[in-house]
């Protein structure tokens, strides 16, 4: 039995997951907690969240503490894993059988192809242009006076989606203003934005090879409008790409910390075999 923790330090929140793994594939999630940072000092939030999660898990020894995201500096970590590594593994834990993760963040989107064990096989990231990013959507929504949670529902109601012609995330506002003034509904505009984002994601996915469903994680995973648009966009490319399913999970925000905990266990075992046994117990004591 190995107990491990994963700490995912994001830009908005810290997520901690504690897991137990046994030698033959048994993986149990003991606790998971997410805390929003809200302008507080990150180290404090990490400590707090970690302590709370350990307590909730009711364990007194942790063999490996894996960090991910911006958690490279956590002093009591055993090892650090990068976001694509952990998101792939965590997503696979949440939804077995998937072949790729699409991590949609505010500025970047990463598409990661994995094998059946959650190993990263290949990835694609969006460039240093925010066209079609989460922030882009947020800006448009703000202009339209739509709150974050409403975006998805409204988008689904669209009847005549209107494509945003400009590619620039900032200049697109002008197009949107123009659309509003032409009497195009909020739903149709949002759906149009979703569609152009979805097209962009399809381009990312298209350059990867993988088998299985696409798991959407990250800040926009809960945007049902985006998921629908992505499904539709993939369906349109079915001839070329084959049938691709799009899934997500209520706990998708924990994908990174789950992955870090699971890879921690893997690494711990590997190092033990080589005679290097590390225990992260000091912090837990």
């Amino acid at each position: 039995m190995i107990t491990t923790a994963g700490i995912d330090v994001g830009s908005g929140a810290v997520k901690v997951t504690v897991m137990r793994t046994d030698g033959d594939g048994g993986e149990t999630l003991l606790a998971q907690i997410s805390t929003r940072i809200r302008r507080r000092e990150i180290a404090k939030v990490v400590d707090e969240t970690f302590d709370a999660a350990v307590e909730a898990a009711g364990v007194d020894e942790i063999h490996y503490i894996g960090t991910t995201g911006e958690g490279g500096e956590v002093p009591y970590a055993t090892g650090h894993f990068y976001g694509m590594t952990t998101h792939a593994r965590g997503a696979l834990y949440l939804t077995p059988g998937i072949g790729a993760v699409l991590d949609v963040g505010a500025l970047h989107t990463r598409a990661v192809a994995m094998d059946g064990h959650g190993r990263v096989k290949d990835y694609k990231m969006t460039s240093q242009c925010a066209s079609g990013s989460g922030q882009f959507l947020e800006n448009i929504a703000r202009y339209l006076g739509v709150s974050h949670d409403e975006i998805g529902e409204l988008s689904i109601l669209a009847t005549k989606p209107e494509k945003v012609s400009s590619i620039c995330a900032v200049l697109a506002e002008t197009d949107v203003i123009n659309m509003v003034s032409r009497g195009i509904t909020t739903s149709d505009i949002l759906r149009g934005v979703h569609e152009s984002m979805a097209e962009r994601f399809v381009r990312l996915l298209r350059s990867l090879e993988f088998a299985g469903a696409v798991f959407v994680s990250g800040g926009l995973a809960s945007d049902t409008g985006l998921l629908t648009a992505l499904r539709d966009a993939l369906a349109k490319k079915e001839l070329e790409l084959g049938k691709l399913e799009v899934v997500t999970h209520d706990d998708a925000i924990f994908a990174g910390s789950i992955g870090a905990a699971l890879w921690g266990a893997f690494r711990y075992r590997k190092l033990s075999q080589h005679g290097v046994a590390w225990t992260a117990a000091s912090k837990v004591a």
């Binding site: 970047h108 990835y123 240093q128």
Partner: protein
């Protein structure tokens, strides 16, 4: 000097876009002259023997704002030439009496023509290295080119070197090459002791100072390293491929190492190591230099590969020689030689089961988060599933 002092000394030279060290050297003697050369390979022995200070012209990196350089280059041309032009147009290269443009690619080649028009008073030469390692026609051609260059340089500097002087210069550069080989070997063995950032700064400084000074500093550095050993970390070992011309920003090199990758071999500042063996210092000097290029040139993207299996095997051999875990193809955006080679090199590496990743940079890239993430993911995968 301590390691930190040496590194700071080198960093100052690297940061200084006005080439103060070169200007100081020139000021010491009224007859002195300096000659620039662009990446990748230039016969520095000839410059040295004719009395020039050879100065590597590698652009201004992320330390230079491009104001006039964009007037000369479209957005889809790599960054190097525009920053070189920016340096020149702002007067920062006005201490060069001659500039050599090696046949690295069409961009540098065309830049030679631009230089002729922009700076008619500077000696400009396009260095058309032989593309085929043919000891007959190609060696003869190259010897002819070198002789031609020698005549021209002697004309500019006013000093026609004797054969012995040429041999001496060859010997000095043999020593420089040997020193660089030693440094590379040390980093390969103990990458934690020779961080690539430091090694890079040292070599970069070496391109603005006389080779003799470089040798002295490099010896001091070696001693400093032995006096100040560092602790190894649980990092992966990688080879960097593709960065032979436009140099990556220092931040990129640091990001790769911080993301958990020891760089154990690279092709930064490749011209330094283009001749892989000593050049005989006791023969007809020009002929010896010509033959050395034909026989002992570094296999790289800038030359035609005559061996059909050459591209396939190159990565395998390089990784084996460096006992590396994987390859990072780090290429400047829009760099034809590097990017056209990459599919062939990568196919060879992948056939040999070597993990690879690839990304593109520009010398003035300021954001490294993407690179860190990719290098980190790569280090993860080696750490988790590699042999170690």
């Amino acid at each position: 000097m301590t390691r930190a002092e040496l590194v700071e000394w080198a960093r100052d030279i690297y940061d200084d876009l006005d080439f103060t060290v070169v200007r100081q050297w020139l000021a010491e003697h009224p007859t002195r002259k300096a000659a620039g050369y662009l990446p990748v390979y230039a016969p520095r022995e000839l410059l040295h023997a004719t009395g020039f200070l050879p100065v590597g012209v590698h652009g201004g990196g992320d330390r230079l704002e491009i104001i006039r350089g964009d007037a000369f280059y479209q957005s889809y041309i790599c960054h190097l030439p525009r920053s070189v032009i920016e340096l020149a147009q702002s007067g920062r290269l006005d201490m060069l009496s001659a500039v050599l443009f090696p046949s690295t690619c069409d961009v540098i080649r065309n830049l030679s023509g631009m230089w002729k028009l922009l700076y008619p008073d500077v000696y400009v030469r396009y260095i058309d290295v032989p593309q085929v390692p043919d000891p007959g026609a190609a060696a003869e051609f190259w010897a002819g080119e070198l002789n031609h260059l020698l005549d021209d340089l002697a004309g500019v500097s006013g000093h026609r070197p004797t054969d012995d002087e040429l041999r001496h210069s060859i010997a000095v550069y043999n020593e420089t090459r040997e020193m660089i080989r030693t440094l590379y070997a040390l980093r390969r063995e103990r990458p934690w002791d020779v961080p690539t950032e430091e090694l890079y700064l040292l070599l970069r400084a070496g391109e603005s100072i006389p080779p003799e000074t470089f040798l002295a500093r490099a010896r001091q550095y070696l001693a400093a390293v032995e006096a100040d050993p560092k602790r190894p970390r649980d990092n992966s070992r990688v080879v960097i491929v593709g960065a032979f011309c436009e140099q990556p920003p220092l931040g990129l090199i640091k990001s790769i190492e911080r993301a958990g990758c020891y760089i154990v071999d690279d092709d930064f500042l490749l011209g330094n190591r283009f001749l892989t063996h000593d050049v005989p210092a006791d023969a007809n000097p020009v002929r010896a230099l010509a033959d050395a290029f034909i026989r002992n040139d570094m296999a790289s993207s800038v030359l035609y590969e005559i061996d059909p299996m050459g591209k396939r095997n190159l990565m395998k051999n390089r990784v084996a020689a460096a006992s590396a875990d994987g390859i990072i193809f780090a290429t400047p955006s829009f760099c034809d030689p590097a990017l056209l080679d990459q599919p062939m090199l990568r196919a060879g590496a992948e056939t040999a089961g070597i993990p690879c990743i690839a990304f593109k940079y520009a010398e003035n890239t300021g954001q490294f988060q993407q690179f860190r993430e990719q290098a980190g993911t790569f280090a993860d995968s080696i750490k988790l599933w590699g042999a170690a």
